[in-house]
């Protein structure tokens, strides 16, 4: 069985600054995988490289066996790869529903707009209440729901989440991780980048530990949660 998403020896960065070194990882269909690590480890760069917001310097990224090297950035989503970016990045002066419509911008998604809108509203009833509200005026947690909803509107095969809990109040963080479980239950394949190690390891099947741009450890969520290294450095207590 070949992996859905496969990164082989990927190096990437900004200008002369290199943020990723020889990263190799994979995500299989139906899995939830986390990439954990401290601030500045290169986690966001990793997702930006997968979505082609930045170019890789060497190595290859393949999705369903097809290399992404020649795919234009705005066509990535058409392959079934949808990303919820860091800091949510909603369009603040569009309404919730318009933000969701932007999620269904690609041709293939347009005919299914109404159907998927219902699906997202069923998943996040709060979004239905707020559908005519400007996205920028909502709370952080609500914005996160909207951002996830927007990413789901394209009907992705793989959902990439960049620090979904960042910048949110502790109470909200809990509910965001509950949301993650809900999305998993819907059958999506998910790749999450997170700093909140303890929480995220309870949600995912497997995880990779990224430090200073390199994969330092990998294994099942349970193994990593039990390892001394992770316990000391990230879980605390």
């Amino acid at each position: 069985m070949s992996a859905m998403l496969e990164l082989k020896n990927v190096s990437a960065g900004y200008g002369t600054f290199q943020a990723l070194f020889d990263v190799t990882l994979s995500v299989n269909a139906g899995e939830a995988v986390a990439v954990i690590g401290p601030n500045g480890a290169g986690k966001t760069t990793l997702l930006r490289a997968i979505s082609k917001l930045i170019n890789v310097k060497s190595g290859d990224i393949a999705f369903e066996g097809r290399s992404l090297a020649t795919v234009e950035p705005h066509r990535i989503i058409e392959l079934g790869l949808s990303q919820v970016p860091e800091h949510r990045r909603l369009f603040p002066r569009l309404t919730v529903e318009e933000n969701l419509r932007m999620g269904a911008y690609m041709e293939a998604a347009r005919p299914k707009f109404a159907q998927r809108l219902e699906m997202v509203y069923a998943l996040f009833p709060r979004m239905k209440e707020r559908r005519h509200q400007m996205a920028g005026t909502m709370s952080g947690g609500e914005q996160q729901m909207c951002a996830i909803g927007r990413a789901l509107m394209s009907g992705p095969k793989l959902l990439l989440l960049d620090e979904p809990s960042a910048g949110l109040a502790p109470v909200i963080v809990q509910s965001i991780f509950d949301l993650m479980r809900k999305i998993r239950a819907e059958g999506y394949t998910v790749m999450i980048v997170e700093q909140n190690v303890r929480q995220v390891l309870k949600v995912v099947d497997r995880a990779y530990l990224l430090e200073v741009g390199r994969i330092k450890a990998s294994g099942s969520a349970a193994e990593l949660l039990a390892s001394d290294e992770i316990q000391k450095a990230y879980v605390g207590l």
């Binding site: 705005h74 989503i77 369009f91 318009e98 999620g103 911008y105 998604a109 347009r110």
Partner: protein, 289 residues
């Protein structure tokens, strides 16, 4: 005294009609700015070319007026795209002021090239329309139809921006350029579409103005600065603000022209603009900073 008030009323109504056209002109410029973050200083010169297109197609080639209008809109729209591809795109990532200067260069170029090609004579399409007479007030139909067309065009544009995917993307892009690829939008393509729409609006403006004014190579200078001021006053990129600003400007010019002389109307409008920039630099509708 009563007759005096009637004339003032006529002036105000004329101002409203002028405001409608000005609002349309500002809309195109505003759209371009909102999406591409560039001010087309030569916007009114595109319009000038549209006016010449209508003039030559009807006068020299004997086209039907409306066919000439359609051709002018298409031609100016194509010019808008060419302007973007040839002039704007190469400086998209350089300092903002360079973008202003290249289009300033295009202004000089287009105006002078038009002088070379068409001469400095004032030309008129020679379509005369009657006036609507209401008691003692008389309003030329050319102005009324121009204002109504502008209004219809603005409503259509609004519906397009509000109801379609492309329109939503056009509104979204100014709010977050960086993530557009993540939702499957190619900014480069949106820029092209917007340039085409902005050009088409300039072309439409040309059709409306050609019925009321003579065409000459420097006509852009009569409308260009006014149009930027309206956009800035409304808050660049803010279309509703631009709409309101257009009517304020048109009234200042109309009433100033009524009491003194048309140039004083312009002086008042521009002075008002300068003062407003200090009072509300973010535009009349803008929030605090």
């Amino acid at each position: 005294m009563e007759i005096f008030d009637i004339f003032l009323l006529e002036t105000v109504l004329n101002g409203v009609l002028f405001g409608g056209v000005l609002a349309l002109l500002a809309l195109g410029l505003n759209l371009i700015f909102g999406v591409i973050d560039v001010v087309w200083i030569c916007y009114a010169e595109l319009m000038m070319i549209g006016m010449y297109t209508v003039f030559y197609l009807t006068k020299t080639f004997g086209w039907n007026l409306f066919a000439a209008f359609a051709a002018a809109i298409v031609i100016v729209s194509v010019l808008g795209v060419l302007l973007h591809v040839l002039v704007i795109r190469p400086v998209l990532d350089s300092e903002p002021i360079n973008q202003l200067l290249v289009t300033g260069g295009m202004l000089t170029f287009m105006q002078a090239a038009a002088t070379l090609a068409f001469g400095i004579e004032f030309r008129n399409v020679g379509v005369s329309m009657p006036s609507l007479v209401l008691g003692e007030i008389s309003l030329p139909w050319s102005r009324i139809s121009a204002a109504l067309t502008a209004l219809v065009a603005m409503v259509l544009l609004w519906l397009f921006l509000k109801k379609t995917y492309l329109g939503t993307a056009i509104r979204a892009i100014s709010q977050d350029r960086g993530i557009m690829p993540l939702v499957g939008v190619s900014p480069a393509r949106i820029y092209l579409t917007t340039s085409a729409i902005g050009g088409a609006l300039a072309g439409l403006g040309a059709c409306l103005l050609v019925l009321q004014y003579d065409v000459h190579p420097a006509i852009g200078l009569s409308f260009g600065p006014l149009t930027f001021m309206v956009c800035v006053l409304g808050g660049l990129g803010n279309m509703l603000g631009g709409f309101i600003a257009a009517f304020i400007f048109a009234q200042l010019i109309s009433i100033g022209g009524f009491y003194f002389h048309i140039e004083w109307g312009y002086v008042m409008a521009f002075a008002f603009f300068i003062v407003m920039m200090f009072v509300r630099p973010q535009g009349i509708l803008g929030g605090k900073s």
